[in-house]
């Protein structure tokens, strides 16, 4: 484990940025933090969470897949990708770090999504432990420990120092290149911080939320539940929850005619949108209830069924904070899970 004084953290950023692109969460508007490419003078936010998750780095909201040149009856296909540059994301929270594993299982399973894979290979993740979890947090529900946030390097802030511990080879490479700035410190330097975090976790209002009622094989149990109707009643059908969610990965592929060619791009889509499953042959999810159900069944039942019991939610709480009508996965779990107890 190494450490650096928080006063010198800018020097650390500068050193990283010299080698590769560095992204840190920074305040961009009152109450809004976003990951931005670090430039000299940029401060890291004090906020717990960025308003969007970190999934953009690997699965951007829009992404150019392929270009076409059409002339007469002829079509030329152009792969528009350029060499992806190496980059470091600093200050990723444990929940977001965990979300990458969930996305990996989708995009890196056969057939591998090379767009995602490329970015993933070039990115180094430096996580940051959550000293002050929020009331909307429930990562512990899914077994995530914000005191040991994972990633390629884990970091803790404590008493004026930033502590860093490499977790993976990538992480070690990153830190070894920065050794001039970092001082070695005992491995247990952050134990107290971990304890403090875990202490707070117990006191969180959602600490007792468990996913035990859910998981693979529960489709029959919940699919036809009467409760979906009242749960989904106020849903606006907007995409806020899906777009701030670190694990939502649904996308749409669309063509854009630029006037001198056709650009096929992929963009985030939301299963909450009424046209999500609309096809020439009809729409199997006709009402908001069905669409709403899909989102939660996917995270709580289908995903674990196909992925060794891992849930498709990391408990980041963004949907809890951002939903315009305050309807979210917590409420769904509690309402549907009631029968279990």
């Amino acid at each position: 484990m190494v450490r650096i004084s928080l006063d010198s953290v800018n020097a650390l950023f500068a050193a990283i940025a010299e080698r590769e692109a560095l992204y840190i969460p920074t305040d961009t508007a009152p109450g809004i933090a976003q990951f931005k490419k670090w430039q000299s003078g940029m401060e890291m936010t004090e906020r717990l969470k960025t308003s969007r998750s970190a999934k953009d780095f690997f699965f951007p909201q829009t992404e150019n897949l392929v270009d076409f040149k059409v002339s007469g009856k002829k079509i030329d296909i152009i792969d528009p990708r350029e060499e992806t540059e190496d980059f470091v994301i600093f200050g990723v929270r444990a929940c977001d770090a965990k979300s990458f594993e969930i996305l990996d299982r989708v995009f890196l399973s056969e057939p591998v999504d090379t767009y995602y894979q490329n970015r993933r290979a070039h990115g180094t993740i430096v996580t940051l432990a959550c000293s002050r979890p929020s009331e909307s947090c429930f990562c512990q529900t899914f077994g995530i420990d914000p005191a040991a946030p994972g990633g390629d390097v884990s970091a803790w802030k404590r008493e004026g120092f930033l502590y860093l511990e490499p977790i993976t080879e990538k992480g070690r490479t990153l830190l070894s290149g920065l050794s001039a700035l970092l001082e070695e410190c005992p491995e247990d330097a952050v134990e107290a911080e971990k304890e403090s975090i875990r202490g707070i976790l117990k006191k969180l209002p959602l600490a007792s939320l468990t996913p035990d009622a859910f998981g693979g094989g529960k489709t029959e149990k919940y699919f036809d539940s009467e409760k979906w109707k009242s749960l989904s009643e106020a849903c606006l059908g907007c995409g806020t929850c899906t777009f701030v969610c670190p694990t939502c990965q649904c996308y749409d592929i669309r063509d854009f005619d630029t006037g001198h060619g056709v650009r096929r791009f992929r963009c985030w889509d939301s299963c909450m949108y009424s046209d999500f499953t609309k096809m020439a042959s009809g729409n199997p999810r006709l009402t908001q209830k069905e669409r709403f159900r899909q989102r939660f069944m996917h995270k709580l039942v289908y995903y674990p069924e196909n992925n060794d019991g891992i849930f498709g939610c990391v408990g980041c709480g963004r949907c809890v904070e951002k939903c315009p009508i305050s309807m979210n996965i917590v409420k769904v779990m509690k309402t549907l899970g009631e029968d279990e107890t």
Partner: protein
């Protein structure tokens, strides 16, 4: 790009009954105005949706001008009155977003005003040429590679 070389793209929506005929008259009278202006014929200025105007900017237009009958002379009686309100509000909104207000214009040109048509176009092209390329409302995807 130096101003002297810059040739703006101008889209002119012209009402069929007045301004389009005015443009024809300008042609008949051999009144020159810059070739940068390309006219789209619409039945009435009130057919022009703000979406068309934004679309033109998206696709690389540097200026959009809308020509209709003089208020009171609309072939459809009242169409240009709605145009007047819609465009005033739209232009004001574009200005509010910091988009150069000189890039958009509405002019009333009657079928008899060939000379006015040419003069208006000359003036508009000059104004837009001075402003230079439309950057604030362009779609970078539509740029020619």
């Amino acid at each position: 790009m130096p101003i002297s070389e810059f040739k703006p793209k101008i889209v002119a929506f012209c009402c069929n009954w007045c301004s389009y005929a005015g443009a024809d008259l300008a042609g008949t009278n051999r009144l020159n105005y810059p070739a940068d202006v390309k006219i789209i014929r619409v039945p009435c200025s009130c057919r022009v949706n703000p979406i068309f105007i934004l679309r033109a900017f998206q696709r690389g237009a540097d200026g959009v001008i809308l020509c209709g009958c003089h208020p009171g002379d609309c072939h459809y009686t009242t169409g240009n009155y709605y145009t007047r309100r819609r465009m005033t509000l739209l232009f004001s909104m574009l200005d509010y977003l910091g988009i150069e207000k000189e890039r958009t214009r509405v002019e009333w040109v009657s079928a008899a005003e060939g000379a006015k048509f040419a003069a208006v176009m000359q003036d508009f092209v000059k104004t837009v040429t001075e402003l230079g390329e439309n950057k604030r409302l362009e779609d970078r995807r539509c740029k020619k590679p």
